[in-house]
Each structure stands twice: as structure tokens, then as C-alpha cells.
């Protein structure tokens, strides 16, 4: 292979690697992570796999009554709800909505589940 050919190939390989490195840090959209922090796994793993944890845990919780404090939707919302409006779904940059809108994946969870931080909900509904 000629020298320009090798250079071209190297350039191509390098350019393929760049987005992978960047994907770990910056997201191409605005997102309000609320209080943030990570308790279950690191953010990159969670970004890819949170739905598997949720779907597994939901069957355990509903059908067998085995509730896991950590992988509990309410627990996720408690930290990730916006500090401004206590919700993970209220605005286009809310924690759940931002990614799901970008990826064009509809979330059904909040047709039944509350997207509001439980402590805030209790405060509002206390008599």
C-alpha cells in the first residue's frame, strides 16, 4: 500500500475512535440531572442499561413483593428530579425526557407512575 493510502487508513481509524471517547463525557443535548450522583453503577453503564434494571425490578416488586430500595423508581426520581420543579418529566431538558426525546424512544412509565420526587409530593399533599 502507498504511503498516502496508509495515512488515509490511519486517519479513518482514528476518526472512528473519536466519538467513542467523547460519548463518555459530553452529551449532544441539555440535561438537568437534578441532584445527580451515582449509587447503582457509573453513568455510562446506566445510560445504556437502566431499562434492564428497571424492567427486572418491576416484575420482582409487583409480582413477588421483593422491593429493592436501590433500584426503586421512586429512589431514582428522588435524586434525579430537577431541583427547580421536583420532576423528571416536566420539561424538555428534564432527566428522563432529554435523552428519550433525543433518541426518539417513548417512555410509558409516567402514564401511571408519578414523575415527581416523593418528598415534594408528600409536602404538597400533606394536610
Amino acid at each position: 500500500m502507498s504511503v498516502p493510502g496508509v495515512r488515509l487508513l490511519l486517519l479513518l481509524l482514528i476518526s472512528l475512535c473519536i466519538p467513542n471517547v467523547w460519548a463518555d463525557q459530553a452529551l449532544p443535548y441539555k440535561i438537568d440531572i437534578g441532584r445527580g450522583g451515582h449509587c447503582v453503577r457509573d453513568p455510562v453503564w446506566m445510560r445504556k442499561n437502566h431499562m434492564h434494571l428497571l424492567i427486572h425490578q418491576r416484575d420482582l416488586t409487583v409480582r413477588e413483593g421483593k422491593r429493592d430500595k436501590e433500584i426503586d423508581l421512586r429512589n431514582c426520581i428522588e435524586c434525579h428530579a430537577s431541583t427547580k420543579d421536583d420532576s423528571v418529566i416536566a420539561r424538555s431538558d428534564s432527566f428522563c425526557v432529554a435523552c428519550h426525546r433525543y433518541e426518539a424512544v417513548k417512555i410509558d412509565c409516567f402514564e401511571c407512575h408519578s414523575g415527581i420526587r416523593k418528598s415534594a409530593w408528600l409536602e404538597r399533599n400533606a394536610k
Binding site: V62, R63, E64, G65, R67, E111, C112, W121
Partner: protein, 235 residues
């Protein structure tokens, strides 16, 4: 092959065959709402109708508040518990009682559910898994107690502990979110006359098991042999 080797080989093969067959048999058993009489826990209620005051609606109010129901009485409004006043016309004897899901050991709603959404938990609580419910309402027709409701309109601002949504059937959950935390159901806690006794029917030392042994209690529609978890005293 010696006799011992032969014997060991046979033992192992029988074991492997048993494991291979057992999952099929277990699936068959789980698919039907059969009673798990060997379970250590079966949550139940004993309702003393002689204490249940006519006109009192505290249990219904508490249920509505706890589970985020509107409390409306239109045909499309959800009712998980309702107060019923009954009069025996021949004697004039009149009394009131709360009626809700009876948490049957042999629930007809579970038998008819085409998706496996209606199910009975290991502790006897009959629930709808709304992740699987398609809203066909067969269970509502099968229930002899009219205990189930269908959610007709979109809901907002649900209690974070009680997910409810349009297009699914729902009913009394015996406040499963409270029971799992070791608390009483909202109605039992709210009753001013302590007419609703909640507890574990399978624990011989629990208050409810002792009382059920001591007093005469009735199942509503006992003729259906559903073995209800909610029993009534004084009817």
C-alpha cells in the same frame, strides 16, 4: 458395568429427568390461581358488621386519599371500597358493611385473565400487574363482588407509591405498599370503631387468626367456594 455403577447411573438419570420435567409441571401450577395453603403468610381481614356504623364513610375516605381516587360515584369513577347498607326484609334487621376485593384464594379474576396480569401474590393479595393489563375487563365481569374498576381517563399527579393509569383495571390492593412496610391498610387504620381487623390468617398466634377461631365469621357468597381472605362477622 458393575451393579453399583449401574445403580448410580440409574439414580442420576432419574434425577436429571425429574429436573427436566418439573419446570413444565410448575408452569402449569402457577398459571392457575390455585391456593398456596403452605405459604406462611396470608393477609386477610375480619370485618365486624355489628360495629360498622351506618352512614360512616371513614374507610372509603381513607382509601380514596391513600390511593388517589377521586371519590366520585359516576359509573366511570374508580371505587376500591364502598359502604353497603343491607336490610333483611323479613325481620327488618338492618346493618352496614364495607365491600371491596375479597382477596380470594381461588380468584375468578385470575382464572379469566388472558394475559396473566391478574395474579395472586404468595401472601394471598390479589393484584393487577398493570404492566401486563390490556384493559379487556374480563376480570371485572368474572368478579362476583363487583370489586374492580377500569380507569377511563388519563390521570395526573398520582401518589408515588400507588401507580394508576388509563386503560388498566384496578381494585383494592390491601394497601400492598403499606403492608410491605409493615403497616396496616388505610381503611383498617381509619375505622373509628376498629371494625376492620387486619392480619396474617396463617399465623396461629395473630390476633385475626385467634378471633376467627373464636367467633363465627362468614364469607360473602360462600357458595362459590372462593375461600375469601376478607371475612365478615355478624351477617
Amino acid at each position: 458395568m458393575s451393579d453399583v455403577q449401574r445403580r448410580n447411573f440409574l439414580k442420576t438419570s432419574v434425577g436429571v429427568a425429574a429436573v427436566a420435567i418439573a419446570p413444565g409441571l410448575l408452569l402449569f401450577k402457577v398459571a392457575h390461581g390455585q391456593s398456596d395453603d403452605d405459604s406462611k403468610v396470608r393477609w386477610g381481614m375480619l370485618i365486624d358488621t355489628s360495629n360498622c356504623a351506618e352512614g360512616c364513610n371513614e374507610c372509603v375516605k381513607a382509601c380514596n386519599k391513600e390511593n388517589g381516587l377521586s371519590g366520585g360515584l359516576a359509573p366511570t369513577d374508580s371505587q376500591w371500597i364502598r359502604k353497603i347498607e343491607i336490610k333483611d326484609v323479613s325481620t327488618g334487621h338492618q346493618f352496614a358493611l364495607p365491600m371491596m376485593c375479597q382477596h380470594c384464594a381461588e380468584p375468578p379474576c385470575v382464572d379469566v385473565c388472558p394475559t396473566g396480569a391478574s395474579f395472586k401474590r404468595y401472601d394471598g393479595i390479589v393484584l393487577v400487574d398493570k404492566h401486563r393489563c390490556i384493559g379487556c375487563r374480563y376480570c371485572m365481569m368474572a368478579c362476583p363482588y363487583k370489586a374492580r374498576s377500569f380507569v377511563h381517563a388519563p390521570l395526573h399527579d398520582q401518589n408515588p407509591d400507588v401507580p394508576r393509569g388509563k386503560g388498566t383495571v384496578e381494585s383494592c390492593t390491601m394497601c400492598v405498599h403499606r403492608v410491605d412496610e409493615g403497616k396496616q391498610p388505610a381503611c383498617a387504620e381509619a375505622c373509628p370503631n376498629k371494625s376492620i381487623l387486619f392480619g396474617n390468617l396463617h399465623d396461629p398466634n395473630s390476633e385475626i387468626a385467634k378471633k376467627i377461631r373464636a367467633v363465627a365469621s362468614t364469607q360473602v357468597r360462600a357458595d362459590l367456594n372462593l375461600n375469601t381472605g376478607v371475612r365478615y362477622q355478624g351477617i
